[in-house]
């Protein structure tokens, strides 16, 4: 679960990592009041989950109340729901810090650079020697000597290095406490006064650890569309696109492949949906989601083993009876108890296919 910047910064603040003074605003009026509190100049930061906010114009520096009003109106008009209004700090230098997991070495990995900012990915390609990596044994945790050594690689100024040591230890503790996939400060400012302060905050919590992390409710704001939110509440993996074919497939790998095949055949996808695995009894709900799209065809492709073909077929037939879909359905259901599945589908007037690529071609054709 990817958190918003303000949530990450709340957590940083709680852990003792310095962050700029800030206020939250949900309207233009709020924003003007918030800016009076933080003082000028200040930064209006749109609380959206997409990356590249700066380049997209979703972060604005403002110098007076008139500018606040203009910038805030503009941002709220762009479907931004929440602004973080932050004091603008005087910047001497920008650093990069993050903690993630190294799946090959089976360690936690601190990545740091004295040259932070938005171009860190380019730096990784063009000047990898400027990026420092420190592996941490995830059972033992970050050792003091590691933090000290890394801090002095980033800065030879003892006052800065001392602050860095504190931030590194606290950032690592956030990583451990919140089961993070990634925790990142980019940029980490050094101000003209010599203070280190987190300019941005990113925290992604591992999905598999969400049931032991408390206080994170998945609300509509975390999703790009109403449909994705609705599907998420049911535990159905779902992505919204704007093409012609609704996918109702089983398993991540197969669904992704069907998505590819449709593109190869010149078709387009309306939605990605997995109803396999633990969801294979949710055919009715899954088809309901598909029918809410403007798709022309629903394409069902499964090759189930644990999730049985006959159960899937029954689910599909049941869904058709209940929902009376207004568009054709192409079915390709195979796997355990396939013979039963074929009977069930034929009895319901469907013509089952047995080859994924054939099913994809048929669905694409039906859209023409």
């Amino acid at each position: 679960m990817k958190l918003f910047e303000y949530q990450a910064k709340d957590i940083f603040r709680g852990a003792g990592i310095p962050v700029p003074r800030s206020e939250m605003a949900r309207s233009v009026e709020d924003t003007v009041n918030a800016a009076e509190k933080t003082g000028f100049p200040c930064v209006l930061k749109s609380q959206v989950l997409q990356g590249g906010r700066g380049k997209a114009g979703l972060i604005q520096i403002v110098k007076n109340p008139e500018e606040v009003e203009k910038a805030a109106s503009n941002l709220f008009a762009r479907d931004v729901k929440l602004l973080l209004v932050e004091e603008a700090v005087s910047i001497k230098k920008e650093l990069y810090l993050s903690v993630t997991v190294d799946p090959v070495r089976a360690k936690a990995l601190i990545i740091a650079s004295a040259e932070g900012g938005v171009e860190i990915e380019e730096l990784a390609v063009n000047a990898p020697e400027k990026i420092f990596r420190e592996e941490v044994d995830i059972t033992a945790g970050l050792q003091s000597f590691q933090a000290t050594d890394l801090a002095y690689r980033l800065s030879c100024d003892p006052i800065e290095a001392k602050q860095l040591i504190g931030i590194l230890r606290r950032l690592y503790s956030v990583f451990a406490k919140y089961d993070a996939e990634l925790v990142e400060i980019n940029p980490l400012f050094i101000t003209r006064e010599g203070q280190l302060i987190a300019g941005d905050g990113k925290l992604i919590i591992d999905e598999n650890s969400m049931n032991r992390q408390e206080g994170f409710e998945r609300t509509r704001e975390y999703y790009d569309s109403d449909m994705e939110f609705e599907a998420a509440k049911e535990g159905i993996p779902y992505l919204q696109f704007d093409g012609d074919i609704s996918l109702m497939c089983a398993g991540a790998g197969l669904t992704t492949t069907v998505y590819d095949l449709i593109n190869y055949e010149g078709g387009s996808v309306a939605n990605y949906l997995e109803f396999g695995g633990p969801n294979y009894r949710k055919a009715v709900r899954a088809m309901e989601l598909c029918l809410q799209n403007d798709s022309k065809v629903i394409l069902v492709v499964t090759f189930g083993t644990i999730a049985r073909a006959d159960v899937m077929a029954e689910g599909i037939v049941d869904a058709i009876e209940r929902l009376k879909p207004d568009r054709p359905i192409v079915v390709c259901i195979r796997g355990t108890n396939e013979e039963e599945a074929v009977k069930t589908l034929r009895n319901a007037g469907l013509e089952p296919l047995f080859d994924t690529e054939e099913a994809v071609r048929k669905a694409v054709q039906l859209c023409k």
């Binding site: 089976a106 089961d179 398993g251 991540a252 992704t256 492949t257 590819d260 083993t305 396939e338």
Partner: protein, 295 residues
């Protein structure tokens, strides 16, 4: 000889009394797997499929030698179960659980590496050598997929395994050993670490790799091929070629970030190392034929 598991491998089943544990233990035995005993705390004295159940792995191995452990416990208990098996000196472990916390999976892999053990999974169906033995959950009775033969299969995806392996069989081949390394971002064992096993297996003539976008496992395979660690023909199929960047499609391990882990990058790496890449599942069989005929 098959790899990882043979009909001689003595398999202990952790979580043997559970619904899945007992059901698949029956099928493992039915296929020919040498299941010696099982473990479920508090259930000692019971029998499942004629196998004795013990309260702990330590108690089980005091009476039965075990070379391998098949773990059927829920994700939140998996780390403890793996550590318990490692503690008793078991070096081959398969864990199927889907949903193991990321930081625990890192600990599991770190522990396995330090013990010189191999943990396969989580989020996998396991491994199978058709007509010989399996650790996991495979409907080996579906002939269209699980026919014995000379093609090794390594996969990150359960659902694609059937799709692609069916094409291998349709082209007239069969499977020597199939290993599902699982769809999580941190698998216990990585593709490249399996290669020496397939290289040394006289029954495996060629290898099919079923990968997907995200991570660096396919690139590591390419590297091993360049270093001569693996010299048999390789045909890969990779899902997610047209996936939109930044969207989390499919497995959690399959997110594309910062230009790394793209399918194009993986294809290039594999091709430069002498592998061939099928753009759709149906091509896998044809490409296998071509490669084996030209050998």
């Amino acid at each position: 000889m098959s790899i990882f598991i043979t009909s001689d491998t003595k398999v202990l089943v952790q979580g043997i009394t559970g619904k899945e544990g007992s059901f698949w233990t029956g099928h493992m035995i039915n296929l020919g797997t040498n299941v010696v005993c099982g473990v479920t705390p508090g259930k000692e004295g019971q029998q499942i499929e004629g196998r004795r159940v013990f309260n702990s792995v330590r108690r089980a191995v005091s009476e039965f030698d075990a070379d391998a452990s098949m773990i059927f416990v829920p994700p939140r208990f998996t780390k403890d179960a793996v550590f318990e098996a490692l503690d008793s000196g078991i070096k081959k472990i398969v864990t199927i659980a889907d949903g193991i916390p990321l930081h625990e999976m890192v600990q599991i892999r770190a522990a396995a590496l330090s013990c010189g053990a191999m943990v396969i999974g989580g989020n996998t169906s396991g491994c199978i050598s058709p007509e010989v033995a399996m650790m996991g959950m495979f409907p080996y009775w579906i002939e269209r997929v699980y026919r014995k033969g000379s093609i090794g299969v390594m996969t990150r995806s359960g659902s694609l395994t059937n799709e692609v392996t069916a094409m291998v069989v349709r082209a007239g081949f069969g499977v020597s050993s199939l290993i599902g390394i699982g769809g999580d971002p941190v698998p216990g064992t990585r593709f490249a670490e399996m290669l020496p096993l397939y290289q040394n297996d006289s029954e495996t003539e060629a290898l099919v790799i079923i990968g997907e976008l995200g991570g660096t496992m396919e690139e590591e395979v390419a590297e091993a091929m360049q270093q001569g660690i693996f010299t048999k023909p390789v045909v890969a199929f990779l899902g997610g070629r047209t996936a939109p960047k930044g969207k989390r499609m499919g497995h959690a391990g399959a997110i594309v970030t910062g230009g790394k882990g793209t399918v194009e990058g993986k294809i290039k790496a594999l091709q430069q190392s002498g592998g061939v890449v099928a753009d759709r599942p149906s091509k896998v069989g044809e490409l296998l034929k071509e490669m084996l005929d030209n050998k």
